[in-house]
């Protein structure tokens, strides 16, 4: 309880600190970074730490002397989990504020609400979130994990820990539908069999019947790309029925919003996941990152996958600006496409010139006492799903989200 009050106070302290440093050294003409995130409303568990990450990244950039001798100014909008506000603030950022770059968007729907606005106004757009893959647009850069990067590694590992019969429970929207198809493909590729697929809209929270029908199918493994607060109920009801130690489970989403901290250790232990980041990553970069976060916000427990993605997105953009020597769109895109890479809290991130997605490390992990313990690190995985359909260098005018046929 006290933790968040500290967070709030710490946050204020960080702003003050960030504001005081640059005034001395930097020119008055600022570089404007637009940020557009759900910091309140039903998606705030994702958005609030992302917002904190943006501000942390920018205050670090400014503390190190800014970019091109200029201070970076954050213009942030809280979309309050309302899709209409994305359209509004997207326009506000490009027309009124005339920002140099936009970072943000959480749900795929929010990304699609502003993507064309950014493209039309020629504002470079960074979408720093794990998603279903397939967006092909020269104006957007995406550094989140896509299904192929994650599922291709997770499925064989999880099947190896359990058995070949797999039952899929997926969130019923774009992401879940596409991810479920990838899971089916990799299950088949690894000689397994999918014995059932169920889709749940995001507001379903009663899984008693599902738990019974899973038992009827008696699979060896459950793959659960479930999303959001209501779906968390599944993991709790699963544990309450005493099923947790009978059938192992893996998820492609559980934990990106720190869900493993909402579940108790008893309910979560042993669930297998694969992400780019974990607070338990034992690397000097991550340890230093957590210290900096704690210094700014008082406590580092709010950090999650999406927050780190966002932090790395801002840092990648900053690096590209430095290399290009400009915040203009064309030089920036050139620099981004030059095989640029940075070292973030989650390891090395390289921009894939062909798709504007990211080549990054994926860690196979298991929940352990409300943390994610790293079991194996798979270095520098390519976004092969999007690469299969998108080539921005051959086709720079492409502007579609491909749905990959498997």
């Amino acid at each position: 309880m006290s933790l968040n009050r500290r967070e709030l106070l710490g946050g204020t302290a960080a702003f003050t600190a960030a504001m005081m440093v640059p005034q001395v050294t930097l020119a008055a003409d600022t570089i404007k970074l637009g940020s557009i995130l759900d910091a309140s409303g039903i998606f705030d568990a994702y958005g609030r730490p992302m917002d904190m990450a943006t501000r942390l990244a920018v205050s670090e950039i400014n503390a190190a002397g800014g970019l091109l001798g200029r201070e970076v100014e954050v213009i942030a909008y809280d979309t309050q989990s309302d899709m209409a506000l994305y359209s509004q603030f997207g326009q506000q950022l490009t027309r009124q504020d005339q920002v140099d770059v936009v970072h943000g968007g959480i749900l795929s729907a929010s990304r699609e609400a502003i993507r064309q606005t950014m493209r039309r106004s020629q504002t470079p757009y960074f979408y720093n979130v794990l998603y279903e893959g397939g967006v092909c647009d020269r104006n957007i850069f995406i550094n989140g994990v896509t299904p192929a990067q994650q599922v291709e590694a997770l499925v064989p590992y999880a099947m190896g820990q359990s058995g070949p019969r797999v039952y899929i429970l997926a969130a019923d929207y774009n992401y879940g539908q596409i991810t479920a198809r990838w899971i089916q493909k990799f299950v088949a590729d690894n000689g397994g069999e999918t014995v059932g697929v169920d889709f749940f809209p995001l507001d379903v929270s009663d899984f008693g019947a599902t738990i019974a029908s899973i038992q009827t199918a008696s699979p060896d493994l459950i793959m659960a790309p479930l999303v959001g607060g209501a779906h968390l109920s599944f993991f709790r009801q699963w544990a309450a029925a005493g099923m947790k130690d009978r059938i192992p489970m893996a998820s492609t989403t559980l934990g990106v919003g720190n869900e493993h901290k909402v579940l108790t250790a008893d309910e979560g232990n042993g669930i297998m996941v694969a992400y780019n980041y974990s607070q338990e990553l034992d690397t000097p970069a991550n340890i230093a990152f957590k210290e900096r976060w704690a210094a700014a916000y008082g406590d580092s427990s709010a950090i999650h996958e999406l927050a780190v993605s966002n932090y790395q997105g801002v840092m990648t953009w900053a690096e590209a600006v430095r290399q290009a020597g400009s915040v203009e769109r064309e030089p920036l895109i050139e620099a981004m496409q030059s095989g640029l890479s940075i070292d973030g809290p989650a390891g090395k991130i390289t921009v894939d010139p062909q798709t504007h997605h990211a080549i990054l490390d994926v860690h196979l992990m298991a929940f352990e006492n409300q943390g994610m313990k790293v079991i194996e690190t798979l270095p520098q995985r390519q976004p092969i799903d999007t690469q299969a359909v998108c080539d921005l260098q051959a086709n720079p005018d492409d502007n579609t989200q491909y749905e990959i046929e498997i």
């Binding site: 309880m1 933790l3 968040n4 009050r5 967070e7 709030l8 309140s40 409303g41 039903i42 705030d44 568990a45 609030r48 019923d172 169920d198 749940f200 809209p201 507001d203 379903v204 929270s205 009663d206 899984f207 008693g208 019947a209 599902t210 738990i211 019974a212 029908s213 038992q215 009827t216 008696s218 607060g229 209501a230 779906h231 968390l232 109920s233 993991f235 709790r236 009801q237 544990a239 309450a240 029925a241 005493g242 099923m243 009978r246 919003g257 720190n258 869900e259 901290k261 909402v262 579940l263 108790t264 008893d266 309910e267 709010a302 409300q370």
Partner: protein, 288 residues
């Protein structure tokens, strides 16, 4: 055979949880004709009260059955004194105010607890029926809802307060005419309704991923159940919960959870079209 039993338990559980979810709202609506749109948030706060109490070392059953209802009942009392009291007889205004309160509570709880609060596990282990594992906690919820109904019935039938309450339900001006301060009756009613909501939220907490916005999932269901039940408090609650619980679980098992929920809603439309005053407007007239 095992599956039949599992399905039976799930159906009973569905009915019981509907009763729990709706009871607090039914009390407030039945007695005061106030639609409390913050009902879901009262439940949510019941959940948080339980978690906090358990983390402070209180026994989980004490936390769920005593601490949470008391805490939420007191919050309800404050809300009644500060806001609702000024709005009696203005149905739509109370809806607007309680909607505002629901947003306010979501914001407050987010501010205090953040969005990642570790839940509590169910205190009752699952058990085996043939080839199936069943959630043992379901039985606890069924028991609690039966106990709640019995207590409500006993209070209404056998106590002086219950008598006044019944009088107020039928003729709100009667109690005043008999010299009972309606102000105090309303205060007590809102306290009870809030406490029951807190109890429901607390009891359901171990089964849901509790976040500050969890309340939104309950309010529509509770509202529909209460209105479809009609004017008789307990008979209405039981009949509409049973109907909706059975219909939704049947379709959930037969097809999918989405179809189950849609079936519940369709049942509500059909029901209200056939019985425009709710189930007990037609049957069980004048019963509790």
């Amino acid at each position: 055979m095992d599956l039949t039993f599992v399905i039976l338990v799930e159906m009973l559980y569905a009915v019981a949880s509907l009763i729990l979810i709706s009871a607090g709202l039914a009390v407030v609506f039945g007695m005061m004709k106030v639609i409390n749109l913050a009902h879901g948030e009262f439940m949510m706060m019941g959940g948080y009260a339980t978690i906090t109490a358990v983390n402070l070392g209180v026994n989980i059953f004490v936390a769920m059955l005593i601490v949470a209802p008391l805490v939420v009942g007191l919050i309800g009392l404050v809300v009644e004194r500060l806001v609702i009291r000024h709005l009696y007889g203005r149905l739509v205004d109370t809806m607007l105010a309680t909607w505002g309160l629901s947003l306010f509570f979501i914001g407050m709880v987010t501010l205090i607890f953040g969005n990642t609060t570790t839940g509590i596990s169910t205190p009752i282990p699952g058990f085996t029926v043939g080839n199936y594992q069943v959630n043992g906690y379901n039985f606890f919820i069924i028991l609690v809802s039966i106990a709640l109904l019995i207590v409500m019935l006993a209070v209404l039938k056998a106590t002086r307060a219950g008598l006044i309450a019944r009088g107020t339900m039928q003729r709100s001006d009667m109690a005043a005419a008999l010299g009972y301060s309606p102000d105090r009756i309303y205060m007590a009613t809102f306290f009870c309704g809030s406490a029951i909501a807190g109890l429901a939220g607390a009891v359901l907490a171990p089964l849901v991923g509790l976040v500050p916005t969890s309340g939104g999932a309950y309010i529509a269901k509770a509202f529909i159940t209460v209105i479809a039940g009609g004017p008789s408090l307990i008979a209405g609650l039981i009949s509409s919960s049973t109907l909706f619980g059975l219909v939704s679980q049947f379709f959930t098992f037969a097809i999918s959870p989405v179809i189950g929920e849609v079936a519940l809603l369709v049942a509500a439309v059909v029901l209200l079209r056939l019985l425009p005053q709710g189930v007990t407007g037609k049957f069980f007239k004048g019963k509790l």
